[in-house]
Each structure stands twice: as C-alpha cells, then as structure tokens.
Symmetry: C2
Subunit: 152 residues, 2 copies
DNA sequence: AGTGAAATTCTCCGAAG
DNA sequence: CTTCGGAGAATTTCACT
C-alpha cells in the first residue's frame, strides 16, 4: 500500500495517543475530521495499523517479573511448531526465531520468580526444546512504542 | 492503588481496543459510561494505564529488520548510563538490564540490514561497551499485547 | 477531500447510597 | 466521602457536493 507523508504523521499521532479525536488529528495535519477517519480506516484495512491498545504498567496488575529465554531446539523443529507451542503459554508475550546461537527468543512475563520458574519448566518440557538460556530482566531502561520515521 | 475486578476487566477491554467507547465498555462491565470514565481517569492518574497507542506493523512503515543485542559492559557501568546511551539511538525500541552473562539486552529496529549494521556500530562505539552479541530476528512468532490476568 | 446534519458519545454537575 | 445517573457539549459518521 502507498503511504504518504500525511499518513505517516497521522500514524505518529495515533501512536502517541490512540484516543486522540479525528478533529484534533485533522487540525494537526491540515485535514478535516472525516478525511482523517477515511485514512485511518484505510490504514487499518491495509494492516498498517494493526489495532489500538492501552499501555499497561505490568507491575500494577501483578506481573512483576520479566525475562528473555533463548531456546535451543532439535534439528527438525519448524518455526510453526515453536509458534504453536509458545502461544499456548499465557506468560509468553513475544517470541521470535533468530539467527545466532539460539533458534528462538521468547519474551516472558510472570507474576513473580516462582511463577516464572513454573512457566520456564513448562516451556522446557516442550519436546523439541533441547536447552534454554535465560536472562531475567532487572530493570526496563527504555520502552518506546513503535517509532514512525518522520515524513521526508 | 487498589484495583478491583471491574478495573481489570476495563483494562483488558482497553488493551484489546483502546478506541472502544466508554458506553460500550460500560455495557460489558455493567456500568454507566461516566462511571467507566471515572475509573479510567483514575487508572491513568495512578500510572496503571500509561497511555494509549496505535499498534503499527513496522514493515509497513519501512522498518523491516529487527534484532536483539546483548551488551557486555565495563565493570563500572551503571544502568542509568546504559539508559541514557541507548535512548540516544532512535533504532532502540527497548532496553533492559539483565541477569546472566550479558549486562543489558537491547531491542533494535532498523530499515534494513545496512541500517542495522550502522546502528550496531554506533552502539558498539559507546565507551562502556566491551563487546556485543547479536540475534537477528528472522520471524515474529508471537506478539501479544500485555495480558491482564482475569479477575478472580 | 470538504461540508453539513443526524446519531452517538463524552463530560460535567447534581443526587444517592 | 466515594460512586452513579441525566443533560448540554463535543465527536463521530454518513450522504452529498
């Protein structure tokens, strides 16, 4: 899909505040509210904007422990298998196949260390996992939402 | 702050769709629209809800390459130093201090491999970085927004 | 893409538990 | 003292230009 500079500015404004009114966005990009809505609808339909979400402080809802786990898998493991398996665990908030030593990187969030240990144990029990290497998150230093490059 | 089950359900609904109307949320949690707004305002003020953002498909806005970089730092490096340094690079979308072999884990997003290489070079030039280990993301398998535990 | 209007939704202020 | 429901104000959303 073709995205012009106005689209990018609209996206950036929605990333900054997903509940901004169309009229407000329109005033910042010199467009009427209906014109903004049409563009947003088009961007959503095209999958450029996947949705709108509230950014929640995990600690405030009882998730205090975060970790990244590198997965080492058996030779025949497919990305689809890893995807299906990791999606089953509610503690998994993201998972990627990666190049490097490990085969996949899994981002976990748990209530506490005990809960994390449980989740890790379950993950390690997956038949294709040969070993894991964990990094516990001590502190979050940076956490930007997706940055949209400034229109040229 | 005290969060009850209704708050948690409101948070879950907003995570699923940050542009949902207060009236719609209210009908799902058996509350009037004004009552929902009061709660959301309170949750925002308390920092439980940090904000509302659009979820953008990075590839659609020209960011096609993603990677995780483990940072190994000199002995005297403080988390604050790493935070300040990593925040300077626009390619850094997240950074954490971690336990394990590495001192920090940096999540990078770049336009392409060449851009990623540049960003990595700049990151490695930070005076406290002794070495790095990179994982290039091959595919995103799972990408859930923050999951809110179901009210008990 | 803009304009105007109808329907919906937001947000303040008073009322009740 | 906190939480909820109703009325004016703003916003969304549609047809048409």
């Amino acid at each position: 899909m073709q995205i012009d500079g106005v689209d990018q500015r609209i996206i950036a404004l929605l990333v900054a505040d997903a509940r901004a009114s169309y009229a407000d966005i329109g005033s910042r990009v010199a467009l009427s509210a209906p014109a903004v809505k049409r563009r947003v609808d088009r961007l959503r339909a095209a999958g450029v904007i996947r949705g709108f979400t509230a950014v929640v402080e995990p600690a405030a809802v009882g998730w205090t422990t975060e970790s990244f786990v590198e997965l080492f898998c058996t030779g025949r493991t497919t990305p689809a298998q890893i995807a299906v398996a990791t999606r089953r665990h509610p503690e998994v908030i993201a998972a990627y196949t990666v190049s490097g030593e490990a085969d996949a990187l899994v981002h976990l969030r748990a209530a506490d260390i005990a809960h994390l240990e449980q989740a890790l144990e379950r993950l390690r029990a997956e038949p294709f996992v040969t070993s894991t290497r964990s990094m516990i998150v001590l502190s979050r230093l940076v956490d930007s939402p997706t940055v949209v490059p400034a229109p040229s």
